[in-house]
Structures are given as C-alpha cells and as structure tokens.
C-alpha cells in the first residue's frame, strides 16, 4: 500500500515542480532589473548590454529560455551562475549542508523545548510553571526571530562572550565549534517552533488526558507522569507531527533572515543574493532543490505518522 502511495505522491511532484520552476523563472525575468545590467555595473554601455544579452540568450522569449533550462535540467545540468560561473548544482548543494545543519538543530530545539513546556504545563495546570511555560510560548510566537537573534547576540556574544556572533563551522570539521556557532542562530530560528509546539501539544495533550484510555490507565494505578508519558504523549503527538513538519519548512524559509544576521553562508543567503543580482539560474536551482526537500520532509512526516499510529494506512 505504501509503495502505491509513494508512487502517487511522486506523480504529483512532477506538475508541482514544473509549475513552480516556471513561475519563478518568469517572475524573476519579469520584475524590473535585467541581470546583464546588474552584472555590468559601472562598466555598462548599450553595446556591452546587447552583446551580453545575446551571449546569455536573454533576448529570447521567456518560454524558449525556460524550455532551454528545462531541457538541461532534466539531463541533470542546472546550468551555471550568471555572475560567478559556478555550477548551480555545486553552489546549492554546498550551501544546503550548512542550512540543513542549522534547521535540524533548530527543529531539535523547538521539539524538545516545546514538548518540555507542554508537559510541564499540563502536569502543573494553573501553577506558576504553567504560566511560565505559556508565557515563553507567547514570547516565542510574538517576537520576530531577527529581534530575538539580536538580543541573543548582545547578551551571549557581546556581554558574556560565550558564543561567536557570526560565522559557521561544519559539524564534520569541528563538532565543538559547530555547536558554538550553531547555537544562537538555531535558538533564534527555533523560538517560534517552541511556541507553536508548546501551544499545540498542550491543547492536544489536555484533550487526550480526558479520554477513556487515560482514565483506564489511571484506574490501573498508573501515576500521572506515567499516564502522560506512556499513554497521553504518544497519542497527543500525532497532530503535532504535522506541525513539526510544517515548522521545518518554515525554518528553511526563516534561514533567509537568520543567515544574513549571523553571516552564515547557507541557502537563504544564496537565494537573497540571487534575487538582488537577478541570477535566475541560481535562484531556479535553489527553488528546485528546496521544493524537493519539502517533499522529502512531507514523506518523512507521513512515515512518522505511521510509526506513531499503526492504525494509519496509506
């Protein structure tokens, strides 16, 4: 059954990819500002502009340009950056590792703290800890991530000097350095996730705690901790898994801002620069690979669903 579901999903992917890449391609060529003009800068002359447009094929109709791109993309060639000449695939994959490390850590932070706060909240209803947990979740959801990022930098790198304020170390190069550099951006990025997961899981947990099987668990003599952890949490997590999956996708979007603040050379920064420079080859690559990533995450979410709830079939 699952393979059939997988196949069906894969077939949906194709039109999604075609439509999104075409929309992105047309949008960046339709917005004012020609990549050639951006590229030539102070050395622009009408002749040079015409010559470069001809060389890059930018004077052809958009649909033809898209066709050319698609034909190459299908064969695995995503082209080269208009500016640096770097192959697009290398450029995106090189940065994707960085962004993924950041997003994974931020998701781990959101999930673990979100779960912690939700459980505390439910275990101590209307207690100070409950209010504190709910307060933190309101703060996380209400304050924009760049503001949280700036506060964290001021406190933890300028005053205390515990973490660097910029840069990124790959986990494979130096795990200690990785943890140091990833911590502040990951917390800034994960703050909203903590908030969303706390609130979502809290209400879902409260609902589950009222259900019959939890009452049965109590009547068997289980403690409240045991009832929450062994019986409540697993069932309450089900809707939250979707939230986490969506949150992961949002976090990838959030990296655009966070990577700029912390000067991390990831996909987000690559995309911003590509837009400013009208480097649509790079942008196409970024979009294509991010869409694939989101699709993969959706798969993983579905699989986790099946693990958490064996009743679910596809």
């Amino acid at each position: 059954m699952f393979t059939k579901y997988l196949l069906r999903r894969l077939i949906y992917v194709i039109p999604t990819l075609l439509i999104t890449t075409f929309v992105v391609f047309s949008l960046i060529l339709l917005i004012p500002g020609d990549p050639v003009v951006a590229l030539l800068g102070e050395n622009a002359t009408p002749e040079k502009i015409a010559q470069l447009q001809e060389q890059m094929g930018l004077n052809k109709p958009i649909i033809i340009q898209y066709g050319d791109w698609l034909l190459n993309a299908v064969q695995g060639d995503l082209g080269r950056s208009l500016f640096t000449g770097e192959p697009v695939f290398d450029a995106v994959i090189g940065r994707l590792g960085v962004t993924l490390q950041l997003v994974v850590i931020s998701t781990i932070i959101s999930v673990s703290f979100g779960m912690l706060f939700a459980v505390i909240s439910v275990y101590f209803p209307n207690n100070l800890l409950d209010y504190l947990a709910r307060f933190v979740s309101i703060v996380g959801a209400s304050f924009p991530n760049f503001w949280i990022a700036m506060l964290l930098v001021i406190l933890f790198s300028l005053h205390l000097g515990w973490f660097p304020s910029t840069g990124f170390t790959n986990i494979t190069d130096n795990p200690g350095g990785f943890l140091k550099t990833v911590m502040l951006p990951a917390i800034s990025l994960g703050a909203i996730g903590i908030a969303v997961i706390t609130r979502h899981l809290r209400s879902s947990l409260l609902e589950v705690m009222e259900s019959d099987y939890v009452r049965t668990a109590y009547s068997k003599g289980n403690s409240r901790w045991k009832a929450i952890f062994s019986h409540g949490l697993r069932n309450a997590m089900l809707p939250v898994v979707t939230t986490i999956g969506i949150g992961f996708g949002n976090a990838i979007g959030g990296t655009v801002v966070i990577e700029t603040i912390f000067a991390i050379p990831g996909v987000g920064q690559l995309a911003v620069n590509a837009i400013l420079q009208r480097d649509f080859m790079i942008l196409q690559g970024v979009i294509l690979i991010l869409i694939m990533l989101v699709i993969i995450i959706n798969f993983i979410t579905d699989i986790i669903y099946a693990i958490l709830d064996p009743r679910i079939e596809y």
């Binding site: 640096t84 001021i154 620069n273 009208r278």
Partner: protein
C-alpha cells in the same frame, strides 16, 4: 477561561517586561553619553597614538580577518565590474602603476614611465618578478594583459585608445595610442593595469576566475561565495618585507550590525562600510580605532535626464541646484563626517576648483524658476531601496525644493530595478544616486559626464563642453589639466548643469582592532590591505 487571578499574573508579567525594557534602554543611553565624552578625549590623542604605533617596526606573522558587506563579482580583471571588487583583487595582482592613499601616482610593476610624444607611453618594467605559478613577469605578460583587456570578452572600456603594445625588450613596453589620452597612466592603477599570469589564463580558460594567479603579495587559497575568501602569504613577493601577515581572510557580512558585533566580539579585525551614525556606538567599545581617508570621492547626488522636461530647461536645473541647502543635508545625514559638494570631485582633489561654491539661495532659485517659464514645476525622483542615506536624503531635498515651489514625487525601487529604469530604459526624470570615484578625473568624465556615457541618460552636452573635456585629457601636464578641469567643473555644476547635481560627499569609514597597523584608507574607498601587520 480568563479568570481574575490569571489576568493579574499576566498583567504583572507584562509590567515586568516593560520595566525591564525601559531599564535597559535607559542604562544604554547614559552609558553612551558617558562613553562619547570619553572617546572624544581619546580621539584627540588618537593621532599621537597612531603615530607612535606606526613608528614601531612592523611585525611579521599572524592573520587578519576583514568583515566586508558583499562578495566580489569576479576576480578576473577583465570580468570584474564593481568598484567593490578592488579590496579583493589588490592582494592577488599587482598593477603596473599604483596610487597611495592621497591618490598620487606611484611605481608598481612598472618602475618608471615616460611620454616620448602625445600618443605613446613607455613603461620600464620591474625585473625578477614572478607570478604565483612560477612563470616570469615580463613585457610579453604586459602585452598579453592589455590586449586581453581590449578584447571582446572584456568589460574594460578604459584602454580603448591603446592601439598597439610594442615590446621594446624583455622589460620595456611602448603603448601606442590612437589619440592623446592622459587618463591611461592612472587607469593602469586600477582594473586595466592588473596583471594576471598569461600561463594560468591559457591553462585554465574560464576556470581562471575561480583560481586567479597574479604577482601580488597574497595567493588565492579558497572561496565560499558570500561566505569567505582566504588568501595566504606569497613567500616570494618582490617587496622584501611585505606582506607581513601569513593569512588574509575576508568574511562576507551583509548587515552592518553583524559586522559591528563581529568586530566587538573579536571575530574580525577590520570592518568596512560603516555608516556615520554607527561610529558613536562603536567608540564606546574598547580596543577599537577608526580609519578614514582625508577626503572621500564617494558622493550623493541628484542625477537627471536632460532630454526630459523639466530638466531640459537650463534655468530650471540652475534653480534646483541653488535651492538645495547642502550644509543642512550634511549635518543631518553624516554626523559631521561628510562634506557639502559643489562639483563632482571632492573639494581638495587636484582637479577640483577650490573657489567653486554654490550658495544656498532660495530667492535666486525662485527667480531662476520663474525665468525658466516651467509651469507647474514638478518631477519624479527614483530612490534605491539599498541606499543607506535614503529615504532621508530625498525627503530633505523634497522639502527644500517645495520651498521654492517645485513638487518632487518619489518612487522607491529595488537597486537594480531603479538603475535599469534610470539608465538602461531612460524612463525616469531623476534619481537620487551615489557616485564612486576614479583615480583620474577623465575616467569619471567617461562614466558620468561625456554625452555618450552610460550614466548620462539625456546624452546632454554642448560642443564647447565636449571640446574642453577632450582638451583636458590631451595633455599630461597636471597643472594645465587642473586649469581645464576647473572650467569644466564650473560648466558642469553651474553654467550648464550637466547630468549631475552634486550634493554631499559620503564618508568612508573603517573600524579596526587596535592591534592592526599599516592600513590606510584611500578616498576611493578601494581598501588595500597589502601593508597591514598585527601587533602581538
């Protein structure tokens, strides 16, 4: 359910946050003021300090990390199109001639030069210089590079008057020009004079830009686009002592706040592209010093299209330039670090006329406007989103022009889009623009003033003005050129008002860790880190 108890606790918490925020901001302010006084005192002694430090012998070793606002466009001299690429290319390549921080010409790979006649330049090249790949630097390499700069693949326009490069002997070349062109020698201080290894170019082809090879003090090691660029010391550099440092690293940090934080926390040693209002907050930090050039060649100006009404009317253009109170703009926007600008060169540059000043005179402006006969005077001005001085700059201009009865509509666009609309499509009446400097005045004329330059959207000129520009570029006698440029400036800014209304010079500010020495900023903002050293 929102009970009274819950509500109470919630309000208490809110109050707590409020108190916390207010408390924080207050303490910040007071410490700022205090520190400002401190640093003012410090500043007075700073010059003395720097001299003392410079008097120390430079130390070898160590690495320097520079925080820059953006990555380079291209490291291949013939493909680089941004003035912001220079800080990156200076390390890898030497130029044939070079300039010091006051933009005076100095020997580079060419030890000396002479002008046998109006249309030729003879360059004596330095002997014993090697490229990073071990090949020799000689006359062949110079010929190769200049011909490459003039080829189809190149975006460099400045050497188009070089007709032929003649090799006299292994270390002497003669440039034959098609017309007298005084700007060529100084053009060789920049992009057109960067000498790359012919062997590496022939070997690597298109890949050369990702593995650049020159004769410069640093060798290219690695580059992560929009991340970092790493250079290592060229042990065989022809200057005996330089470079002092073992490693030079550039880190791209787009946000100014990010760069400042990185400097404060010691992650970088030098930051560039600092705005005048950040200086106050930076001076409160310890172990930090400022570096600024004597005068800045970067400016803010109003650029217009003279083929469109109302800018096709001379009296109207003159009315606008007299209606701008430059002093107020400088005071408001540059925190005292900028200067009012009355011509396209900074006031102490040799090509600038020290006596040229455009008085703020609203009465005269009103009269000029009336004489112009423009009915219902108004225009639309483009603004680039990425411009630090916007929208304040245009707001002040709008208000000042309103005083004499000119209505300014503004249109804010993303930078590349604004640029395209103003100059490629020529569809806007005016734009609030920045201008960057060039080492030779004629090179600036080529970009901003002459009729067929790209940035002269209205192709505005007069035959007499054209003749003056050609004449000023036809002699190598600087005193004579200066005289002609004074005339040009007067026409450009006042008598004709050609293409640009200069308003203010934009401060170029670097902030350095105290242990960094040997760095001097030049007025073009094209930072050169080759002589830098670190005090241990």
């Amino acid at each position: 359910m929102f009970t009274f108890k819950k509500g109470l606790i919630f309000s208490l918490m809110l109050l707590l946050i409020l108190l916390f925020t207010v408390g924080c901001s207050e303490s910040n302010e007071s410490s700022n003021n205090q520190d400002k006084n401190d640093t003012e005192a410090e500043e007075n002694t700073e010059d003395g300090d720097t001299e003392k430090a410079e008097a120390k012998a430079p130390q070898a070793g160590g690495e320097v990390v520079v925080g820059v606002a953006g990555d380079f466009i291209n490291l291949d001299p013939i493909l680089s199109t941004s003035g912001d690429d220079y800080p990156f290319v200076w390390g890898i390549y030497d130029t044939l001639v070079t300039y010091n921080s006051d933009l005076e010409i100095q020997p580079g790979l060419a030890e000396s030069w002479e002008f046998p006649d109006d249309t030729s330049i003879v360059l004596q090249l330095k002997k014993g210089v090697k490229f990073h790949d071990g090949t020799d630097f000689d006359a062949e390499a110079v010929k190769f590079n200049i011909e490459r700069a003039n080829s189809e693949d190149s975006v460099i326009p400045d050497l188009r008057h070089v007709e032929e490069v003649e090799i006299i002997d292994t270390h002497t070349v003669k440039l034959h020009l098609s017309v007298p062109d005084a700007s060529i020698l100084l053009a060789l201080t920049e992009r057109p004079g960067l000498i790359a290894s012919p062997a590496a170019i022939e070997k690597d082809g298109e890949e050369f830009q990702r593995n650049p090879v020159g004769t410069g003090p640093f060798k290219f090691v690695s580059h992560v686009p929009n991340g970092e660029l790493v250079y290592e010391k060229n042990e065989d550099y022809w200057k005996e002592e330089e470079p002092y440092i073992d490693k030079l690293i550039f880190k791209v940090m787009q946000q100014e706040t990010t760069r400042i934080n990185a400097l404060k926390s010691g992650e970088v040693d030098i930051i560039a592209g600092i705005s005048p209002f950040s200086v106050d907050s930076l001076e409160t930090a310890e172990n930090i010093k400022l570096e600024m050039p004597n005068s800045s060649h970067r400016s803010k100006a109003i650029v217009f299209n003279a083929s469109m009404p109302p800018f096709d009317n001379l009296k109207f253009r003159q009315a606008v330039t007299h209606a701008i109170d430059r002093d107020i703009i400088v005071d408001t926007l540059t925190n005292g670090y900028g200067e009012p600008l009355y011509q396209i060169f900074p006031n102490d540059f040799w090509a600038a006329d020290p006596d040229l000043k455009i008085e703020y005179d609203p009465e005269k402006a009103k009269q000029l406007l009336e004489e112009s006969g423009v009915e219902d005077p108004s225009f639309t001005m483009l603004i680039s989103q990425q411009d630090f001085y916007e929208p304040m700059f245009t707001d002040i201009i709008t208000e000042q022009l309103a005083k004499i009865g000119i209505t300014v509509e503004t249109e804010t666009m993303e930078g590349t889009a604004a640029y395209q609309k103003m100059w490629a499509e020529k569809e806007s009446q005016a734009m609030s623009s920045g201008t960057a400097g060039k080492p030779d005045p004629h090179l600036l004329m080529e970009i901003w003033v002459i009729a067929d330059s790209f940035f002269n959207a209205g192709e505005q000129t007069t035959p007499e003005f054209d003749e003056l520009i050609v004449a000023a570029n036809s002699t190598n006698d600087q005193a004579e050129r200066a005289k002609l440029y004074h005339e040009i400036n007067r026409k450009q800014a006042l008598d004709e008002v050609v293409n640009i209304i200069p308003v203010m010079s934009v401060p170029i500010i670097y902030v350095l860790n105290d242990k960094v020495h040997g760095f001097t900023a030049n007025g073009l903002g094209k930072s050169n880190f080759n002589s830098i050293w670190i005090e241990e």
